[in-house]
Amino acid sequence: MKYLIAEDELDLQQSIVTYLQRDGHVCEVASDFHEASEKVHMYDYDLIILDINLISGSGIDILKILRKENKRSGVIIISANNSLNDKLEGLDLGADDYITKPFHLAELNSRITAVLRRGKFGGDERIEFNEISIDTKSRTAYIDEKSMALTKKEYDLLVFFISNKGRVLSKEIIAEHLWGDHSDLLDNFDFIYVHINNLRKKLTSAGAKYIKTAYGSGYKFIED
C-alpha cells in the first residue's frame, strides 16, 4: 500500500511514518501545502493522511484537488480542531474519516485499515487473519468458519487487535479506543483484563493463541 502523509509538524510526520512502515507500506511525506498538492497531482495513493492546517494552505483545498482530478484515494483528516463544522466539511468533500489531535497511532492505524477495507472491497468488508475472519458489515467474527459468540466490546477489541497486529497496545490505548472520552472516568483499567481474558479464552478454546502479554501490562496480537 502507498500512503501519503501530509503533515507539517515533522516530528509527528516521522512518528506516523515509523509506525505505518512496520507493516511494509510505502510512506511518502509532504511537509507543506505545495508539496502535498504537487504529490497528489502527480501520483496515486491508496491513502492520504491529511492535516487540515498545513503551512501555506488548507487541507480542504487538497480535498478539492482530489475531487477535481477524480482520484480515488482514501483520506483521513487529522486536525487540532475538534469542531463539528470542520468535520462535516471535510467529510462532505470526500474525506473518509476524521481524527482529532492528539491521537494514538494505533487508533489512526485501525481507522486506516477500516478506510482501506471499505475502499478496496466496495462494501464486502472482510478482515482475514489466519483462521479468523471477520465480517465487518454484520459485525460477526468466524474462527475456522464457525461463528464466535462475541460481545460488542470483545468484537471491537478483536478488530482493533488485528488492525494493529504485531504492535504493543497499552491498557490506556485500548481503553480509549473502546470507551473514548468516558475512559477518563476509570480509576484503573483493571476491568480491561476482564474483556481481554474473555476474548482470549474464546480464541484459545478454538486453538488461536494470538493475544500475548507485553511488558507485564500491555498486549500484543501476534502469530505464534
Partner: protein, 400 residues
C-alpha cells in the same frame, strides 16, 4: 426642614416687631386724640364724653397719667374688646379734668394668626412650586444619567450587542458617558482577546500533545524497554488523555460563550438518560437507577443536551466511590440526580466554579460542572445543589 424652622423664627420675629409697631402707633394716636380733646376743652369748656373712646370728667385733684390695656364691653360689637387706654389729669382754666382716651387695638392672637397663616401659605406655595420645578427640571437633567445607569446594570460581557448610552447637555454627564463607552469597549475587547487566547492556547497544545503521544506509541513498539519503563511511559498516556479532555472542555466553554451551538431541537431527556445509563453500564457502572415520573422534554442544542447529562452522570460517578446507588429522577420540567456522600461540601457556593475541587482524590479536569452551569445559564435553566441525608443532590429546573 430648614425652611420650616426659618418660617417659625421669622413668624416670631415679625410678630414681636409688628406688635411693637402697632402699639407705638396706637399710643401716638392716643396722645394726639388726647391733645385734641384738651384743645376742645380749652376752647369751649364743655364736658363731653364719647364712651368708650373719649371720657372727660372733672376731678378734685391731679393724678399721674396712666397708659394701660383694658378690656371693656363694646355694645356696638356686642363683645368684650381689648382697648388701649390713656388716662391723663390736666389742669385747664383752673379746673381739673380727668381725660381718658381709648382706642381699639388688634388682639395679639389675631396678629399672630394672620402672620402664621400668611407665612404658612407662602411657605407651602413656595414649597410646592419649588418641588414641582425642581423635580421636573432634575428629572430632565438626570434622565440621561439614569438611562445610562440602567444600561450599565444590564451590561453583560457575553452579550454581543453594543451598549447604547444617551448623551446629555451636562458636560459631566457627557464625559461620564464617553468614559463608560470607552471602558465597556475596552473591557469587551479584552474579554474577547482573552477568550480568543484561551481558545488558541488549547488549540495550539493539541499538536505538541499529538507529537508526544505518537512518540510514546513508537517507543513502546520500537525500543527494547523493561516492564517498569513501559509502565511509566504508558502512564504518560493517561496524562495526555487528561490534557486532551481539559482542552476539549475549555473549547466547549468558549464555544458556548460564542453561542456556537445552534442545533436546537426538542429533546426527550428521559430517553437520553436511559441511553447514557446503558453506555455507562458497559463501563461497569451498574449502580445507576433512573426513575421517570413523567417524560421530560427540553428544547436545546443536541450536543449540549448530551454533554449536560454526561457531565452530571460523570460527576456523580466520580464522587460515589463505593458503588453506592446513583439515582436520577425525571419529572415535569425537572431533573434530580443524587449520589451518596459522606459529608456535605465545605464550600458548595464554589461548586460550579472552574477548576474548583474539594479533593485531589480523582483526576478530574475541574470543568465538568462549570460546563453544566454554563449550559444551564445559556438556556435559563435553574440548577441547584443541596446536601440532603447523606446525599449530594443536584436538581435542574427547566421551566422558563
Amino acid at each position: 426642614m430648614t425652611g420650616f424652622v426659618l418660617t417659625i423664627l421669622s413668624s416670631i420675629a415679625l410678630y414681636f416687631y409688628t406688635k411693637n409697631l402697632l402699639q407705638n402707633e396706637v399710643e401716638e394716636e392716643l396722645y394726639s386724640t388726647e391733645a385734641r380733646v384738651e384743645a376742645a376743652l380749652n376752647s369751649n369748656r364743655q364736658l363731653f364724653s364719647l364712651p368708650p373712646v373719649v371720657e372727660v370728667k372733672s376731678v378734685q385733684n391731679l393724678l399721674p397719667k396712666v397708659l394701660k390695656d383694658t378690656i371693656i364691653y363694646d355694645p356696638s360689637q356686642d363683645e368684650m374688646e381689648l382697648f388701649r387706654e390713656l388716662s391723663t389729669y390736666k389742669e385747664l382754666n383752673n379746673e381739673y379734668y380727668h381725660i381718658t382716651v381709648r382706642t381699639l387695638v388688634v388682639e395679639s392672637e389675631d396678629i399672630l394668626m394672620a402672620l402664621v397663616f400668611s407665612n404658612i401659605t407662602i411657605f407651602v406655595i413656595a414649597f410646592v412650586f419649588l418641588f414641582y420645578f425642581n423635580t421636573t427640571r432634575n428629572l430632565r437633567l438626570w434622565k440621561p444619567f439614569f438611562d445610562n445607569l440602567e444600561q450599565m446594570k444590564t451590561f453583560s460581557l457575553t452579550k454581543k450587542d453594543p451598549i447604547t448610552l444617551s448623551d446629555s447637555e451636562i458636560i459631566e454627564f457627557s464625559e461620564l458617558k464617553d468614559q463608560i463607552m470607552l471602558f465597556t469597549n475596552k473591557v469587551r475587547d479584552d474579554y474577547e482577546s482573552l477568550k480568543q487566547f484561551t481558545e488558541d492556547v488549547s488549540h495550539e497544545m493539541q499538536t505538541p500533545l499529538a507529537i508526544i503521544q505518537a512518540k510514546i506509541d513508537n517507543i513502546i513498539n520500537e525500543h527494547e524497554i523493561n516492564d517498569k519503563q513501559f509502565e511509566q511511559v504508558t502512564s504518560i498516556q493517561k496524562d495526555i488523555q487528561r490534557l486532551k479532555q481539559l482542552n476539549k472542555r475549555i473549547t466547549t466553554l468558549t464555544k458556548i460563550d460564542n453561542n456556537q451551538f445552534t442545533n436546537i431541537e426538542t429533546i426527550n431527556l428521559t430517553d437520553l438518560i436511559d441511553e447514557k445509563i446503558e453506555s455507562f453500564k458497559e463501563l461497569q457502572f451498574v449502580n445507576l437507577v433512573h426513575n421517570s415520573k413523567k417524560k421530560l422534554f427540553v428544547s436545546m442544542d443536541v450536543y449540549l443536551a448530551d454533554m449536560l447529562i454526561n457531565n452530571l452522570l460523570s460527576n456523580a460517578i466520580k464522587h460515589s466511590k463505593n458503588k453506592e446507588e446513583i439515582t436520577l429522577v425525571t419529572m415535569d420540567n425537572r431533573l434530580v440526580i443524587s449520589n451518596f456522600g459522606e459529608e456535605a461540601l465545605v464550600h458548595p457556593e464554589n461548586l460550579f466554579l472552574r477548576f474548583y475541587r474539594e479533593s485531589r482524590a480523582n483526576q478530574s479536569t475541574g470543568l465538568g460542572l462549570a460546563i453544566v452551569k454554563k449550559i444551564c445559564d445559556l438556556y435559563g435553566f435553574k440548577i441547584s445543589y443541596q446536601f440532603e441525608v447523606d446525599h449530594h443532590v443536584f436538581s435542574i429546573d427547566f421551566s422558563k
